[in-house]
Amino acid sequence: MKELEAILDKNGLIVAFLLVGILTWATDVFSKKALNGRIPGSALAIGLALVLGYLGGIFAEGEQGLADISYFKGLSFLGGSMFRDFAIVATATGASFLLIRKSGMLGLISLVLGIGLFFGFGVALGWLMGYRDAVSLCTIGAGACTYIVGPVTGGAVGASSEVIALSIGTGVVKTIAVTILTPVLAKWIGLDSPGAAMAYGGIMGTSSGVAAGLAATDPSLVPYGAVTATFYTGLGCLICPSLFYLVLSTLLG
């Protein structure tokens, strides 16, 4: 038993392949046999992974969900930003440059619209919850964009560490909400073409949420959503601490 433990501990990434494989296999079987394929297996697997992440957080009391349990630490490597971005880029081989260019304008509009919408809504909710200073409101609004824009903005405008932590929490909740809601609402919003995926990616913006949501909806749309979403965080980090902060501090006197 001790030998096995040592091997599991040493080969974290391989253990992660095995775990994800088992999870995918089990949810595929469940989707086909019990649900007649009404919910795709990958959507179930992603949902179940979120639940496991929650349980991992309870048992291990860390910051990386299930990956905090030492045998499963490979999950955070496999699911980390390096492999995630690498695989997203690889999906571009299935994308058409012409289609991307055709919807470029739509993508740009949706980016600006998306950042404004999430920032504005975040600021409004922060105001309702009793925050009145431009620095905190700006950071909370930025956190409603993504969990990277929040701390980057907070650091730039000099927010307190509690507010920065709050903005990260908000961004992570957003990622989870987008992941869960996308496959549920995809039909209703008409998310069924490359152009639609680009608009969706630009408005939602959270790369992880868009990526996971589209994977659970229709994997062939992933590159189109990702190509706009990838600009969201950068654009947010650019606008939130500068333009939006100036507007806020002017409004608040």
């Binding site: 995918t24 992603i46 309870i58 990386q64 690889a90 809504f121 957003k174 639609a196 939602m204 190509v227």
Partner: protein, 119 residues
């Protein structure tokens, strides 16, 4: 196989570099569109290699493998998100993380209707 994988790696690194350069040029501490640049490089490279007749099954496999590994990676990512602290970081984080998302889905629907009125 390794040639295709090397091409993918090259496009990835070059794209990330462009994103980092754009970020520092704009004066912000973030990668601006690195993944997008990398995807553009890959699309152009694919055109080029295909026109030279080099995009055969073996070459494409190196990229296709990562393309297919994408969903497993997302599953691993979901399992390593800090779900617990997100749920326990208070009412404001929960509201500000979910309500705008619901609204945004409505905005996507309206925007797409404007663009494709026939639908």
């Amino acid at each position: 196989m390794i040639k295709g994988l090397a091409l993918l790696s090259f496009c990835f690194l070059a794209g990330m570099w462009c994103g980092a350069l754009l970020g520092s040029w704009l004066g912000i501490d973030a990668n601006v569109g690195g993944v997008g640049f990398a995807m553009a490089f890959l699309l152009f490279s694919k055109e080029y290699v295909t026109s030279k007749g080099g995009w055969n099954g073996e070459f494409g496999f190196g990229l296709d493998f990562w393309n297919k590994l994408y969903i497993p990676i997302v599953i691993a990512m979901a399992a390593s998100l800090n779900v617990k602290s997100a749920l326990s970081s208070g009412l404001l984080a929960l509201l500000a993380g979910t309500l705008p998302v619901l609204l945004a889905f409505g905005v996507v629907k309206i925007l797409l209707k404007q663009v494709n009125p026939e639908k």
